[in-house]
Symmetry: C2
Subunit: 292 residues, 2 copies
């Protein structure tokens, strides 16, 4: 029998989408959020995300930082659509030996991130995993984006330039627990830079850029020497560490990015390549496959 480890995450999702009714909800599998059009001025965004002990965090990690990360990851997905988060639900599947103080600090960390970004905790659920099993923390949330500003992964065109915010690499040495989702940046990009496709970098540029290009029906050409690398890191880390939570987007090649520096002083905005017709361009190996 074929197992998850054989097939990988993207191929699995592609196989599953035909098996349950999806109606007109969602921009299809693989985008940062599901998009629900209820006819109003705002589109509703839906997102679920999980953290697994031993995979995304260790039991001895600061629980406030884990709580921050759990919420910030989801907010980053809303940012990648040009939107913001609203109501959050948390599911904690925990061993009975988990200390109450750990859970309380986890909630405090969630609370600090929600307070900073304007989200609300609407509810939660706790349940027990068998002793010896990894704790699993799942966050689900609703968000919204103005109809004209929603940016999918699928709108890129051959010739579009590829841009990235900030610097990449280094999450494995600790940055992954303390990042700030690019919410204001995402909204500003959506409103000012005519982005054709956008996503947040959660699994590494080497995994995520091919996903964006594929969603847009394109290939890509990457200028490796232009990739902004975090201090003390190497190119391989910038390509493969994952959990950068920077924004990757495409825009017409004549894009004028004047205004960015005044809005977001100290945060790089770097052109790293271009989309090309499907079947052409570069290929990339590496990045984080959840079942690899």
């Amino acid at each position: 029998m074929r197992t998850l480890a054989d097939i990988g995450e993207d191929a699995l999702i592609a196989r599953l989408v035909s098996l349950a009714p999806t109606g007109n909800a969602g921009e299809g599998p693989g985008d940062d959020c599901a998009v629900v059009d209820e006819g109003g001025e705002m589109l509703r965004l839906l997102k679920t995300d999980a953290l697994v002990e031993g995979v995304h965090f260790l039991r001895n990690a600061d629980p406030k930082a884990v709580g921050w990360k759990a919420v910030a990851r989801v907010i980053s997905d809303f940012a990648a659509m040009g939107g913001t988060g609203e109501h959050f639900l948390v599911t904690l599947a925990l061993p009975g030996t988990m200390e109450i103080a750990w859970i309380e600090d986890f909630y405090r960390g969630m609370g600090e991130c929600l307070a900073l970004y304007g989200g609300r905790l609407a509810g939660g659920e706790t349940c027990r995993v068998p002793e010896g099993s990894a704790a699993v923390i799942s966050i689900a949330a609703t968000g919204s984006v103005a109809r004209g500003n929603a940016v999918m992964r699928s709108g890129g065109k051959p010739g579009d330039a590829i841009w990235v915010t900030g610097r990449l690499g280094g999450s494995l040495v600790g940055k992954h627990l303390s990042f700030f989702p690019r919410v204001e940046e995402g909204r500003w990009i959506a409103a000012n830079l005519r982005p054709t496709a956008m996503m947040d970098l959660s699994d590494g540029l080497a995994m995520d850029l091919p996903r964006l290009a594929k969603s847009s029906g394109c290939g890509f050409r990457l200028m490796r020497e232009a990739i902004p690398i975090s201090e003390g890191c190497l190119l391989d880390q910038a390509l493969g560490d994952g959990e950068d939570f920077e924004l990757l987007f495409t825009a017409p090649p004549d894009l004028d990015v004047i205004g960015w520096r005044e809005m977001f002083p100290g945060l790089e905005l770097t052109r790293i390549g271009e989309l090309v017709p499907e079947g052409q361009g570069d290929s990339l190996a590496g990045g984080w496959d959840h079942f690899g």
Copy 2:
């Protein structure tokens, strides 16, 4: 240090709610769903729920039935507010050895339940748990209820009669994988029977009736001889098995239930007690504590 096993689920939730911003979202912790008032004719409902391998299902269980159960549990919570489900998100935290065929059948089971009850799968997320860890399946969903028909757990008054749909007990011998959420029943009750409080029975009458009474600031008196018991079961099973997914509600004592039998032929509606002032009445032991 105090652990989850020491403190129990209800006490934990009470400690956590002050630690993150909740705004005006939610009817407070402990209700079946969070309620978000966006000002329109319909109130938005939000719910998250999890199934844990070895706790809620076994690896050798029919995956279609597990998928059905995962969705049906959440639909049952919407039903308990008098509402219905709309958009569903699924998070699968699975070991890499999980067979693709299992996951596909799980999706088919979810799909059948969604198709029957009119829900849509809006998105999902898969991630890996370490080998040997229990699989965790989390469902999050949005729903809605007409403003005038929303029924919380907190509105019961001393003197209100306590009612229950169907028969209780027996989930442990298999019923828990194949139940039908009481969606039409919940809507009809909300629209026709002036319920003051309602919930679905997920952890057993012995655990859930005290919760409803406490949420309403009441005690309760239970007519044990009146409890409708599933064929082949004993009273202890009806009180403590959990996962009945029948509706428990309170209503003014003069309630006229004429109409029920024609609407729902073959489904019992049974008066099993009454609410009394707080501090009075019966106490109940048993039921399912997720950390007991």
